[in-house]
Assembly symmetry: C2
């Protein structure tokens, strides 16, 4: 008997949608303080909302993920030339689609880029309407509850009275749990993956390492770097510090096997001498082309409070 | 019956000794290339060499350790004002002494600072006789075999025909194994502790993170920073990256329990918010007062080749 999962079926070509929150009488207030006079969330949906609006599934992406969870989208916004071809396919295309684990023949799936993110949602790289320049260091302090609340406004906008399920991995799992605990009557099923109820000591330590790596890059300039060179060395180091923790080391060794070791010292005197160094180096370099350093810092900051 | 180990007995006050290698006809050639026209090793000894010279025990310190393994020494050289009071007591005083695990009533114990180190042995911070200025980036590339060979010259100078034992933890363990495999007839017992025969993938990755942290500190200037500000942010980050791997996380959490969280952001925008961050931050800050960034980089470089 053939299994019923059709791994080769895709939701097809998808496009980004935008939810703009503008309400001069009621700016979006953030947990710690400060407010956004308006904000945008970039999101995608897959499948159809049924007549009784009971089949909505909210998927939270992981820290550096995007709203592009399934199908093919060649025009994910917000990252400009930093977007790489391999990201045209949604990051969870293996799980979301017709007949897949999150079956789009049954469910209406929504995935939105975090508030504070850099894929079309309002974040530190967005223009601050008060100044006409990127928010940078002036972007309000973000907490996970703000990300959840902004997505609740999106769900309201989409006319979702209750979620069939909320799903997320890593930070996405924290957000799924937070959504369910804040709104227990609004969520039927919670699927937290590779996550927990609090930040572990190890995670807290490596998050702090990443914060240091970004903030001490001289190009970071406290977060106001949009007119100057990009703090790519610090951000790439942060990414490498994280990368080893979400890929199995055996797998990483295997993937690095065919890596050609560059003989050009990337940071100064030290020459790489092992494929795994070269592999990690390129993971960092690839990442900085697609992610904003301020978004990274602000999300890690929120993470440290869980 | 009382156990025979008298943990409160100490070898007492000790002082640093120096071995100067100078042989114009035969400079010390390093494995990769380059040579040192002369070099110094700073070392300490405990106990007495017996009449038939059969009771010598060589102890290799770990990466950032020193020759000051036991007893009390208020004048360990080479680190100037960076030396902290808590380091007056030898780093392995609990194990080396009369009646202790490495019994100085039986053995003649030798511990020398690595070639390339910063506690009185010749290293990148030492004066290059050819220029009258610190070696810095011009210090020859170091391999573990060079550290072993320099200590073999010291043992020869001390008139040791054969070691009763060679002991070392972490990198010291690599060096102990290397000594024993290069000179099997010279070593009776090998005690490698918390070490292995090769660098693991995880270690290789975090070593590379540390290299990046040091080299990308703008004060590092490729290793020629002795006239300017110290690359302390990069070195402190490197130390923190390492620190979490040689202390149990449970222990670390416990030690951090009473840490006061500073509200002054140490690197920019991000404010620490948990005792473990503050604890790790202070581990980094303490370390940069006592260790040279070039020594750190050069030893990690050698480590990557194991």
């Amino acid at each position: 008997m053939t299994p019923k999962i059709h791994t080769r079926r895709s939701v097809g070509v998808v496009s980004t949608q935008f939810f703009h929150y503008v309400n001069p009488a009621k700016p979006f207030r953030l947990r710690v303080g400060g407010e956004l006079p308006e904000f945008t969330l970039a999101y995608e949906t897959y499948g159809e909302l049924n007549a009784d609006r009971s089949n909505a599934v909210l998927v939270y992406h992981a820290m550096t993920g995007s709203q592009h969870a399934a199908g093919i989208n060649k025009h994910v916004p917000g990252v400009g030339s930093r977007w790489t071809k391999e990201m045209h396919i949604g990051w969870w295309d293996g799980f979301i689609g017709p007949g897949k684990a999150v079956d789009t023949e049954k469910f209406f799936v929504i995935c939105a880029n975090y508030l504070g993110g850099c894929y079309g949602s309002t974040g530190p790289a967005s223009i601050n309407p008060a100044t006409g320049r990127p928010w940078g260091s002036a972007f309000p302090v973000l907490r996970f509850v703000d990300i959840v609340e902004s997505q609740m406004l999106l769900l309201k906008h989409l006319g979702i009275p209750k979620l069939h399920a909320v799903i997320g991995g890593s930070i996405g799992g924290f957000l799924a749990l937070l959504t369910a605990t804040r709104y227990p009557d609004f969520v039927r099923i919670v699927v937290p993956i590779a996550t927990g109820l609090e930040t572990t000591i190890y995670q807290r330590i490596i998050n702090f390492e990443q914060i240091t790596a970004i903030e001490s890059d001289p190009n970071f300039k406290g977060g106001d770097y949009y007119d100057g060179p990009y703090p790519e060395v610090g951000l790439a180091l942060a990414r490498r510090i994280a990368h080893k923790t979400f890929v199995s080391l055996e797998d990483l060794k295997e993937r690095a096997r065919d890596e050609v070791v560059s003989h050009k010292p990337p940071y100064g005197w030290y020459e790489m001498n092992h494929p795994v160094e070269s592999y990690m180096y390129h993971q960092g370099q690839k990442f900085v082309r697609r992610f904003d350093a301020n978004s990274y810092l602000r999300i890690v900051d929120a993470w440290q409070l869980v």
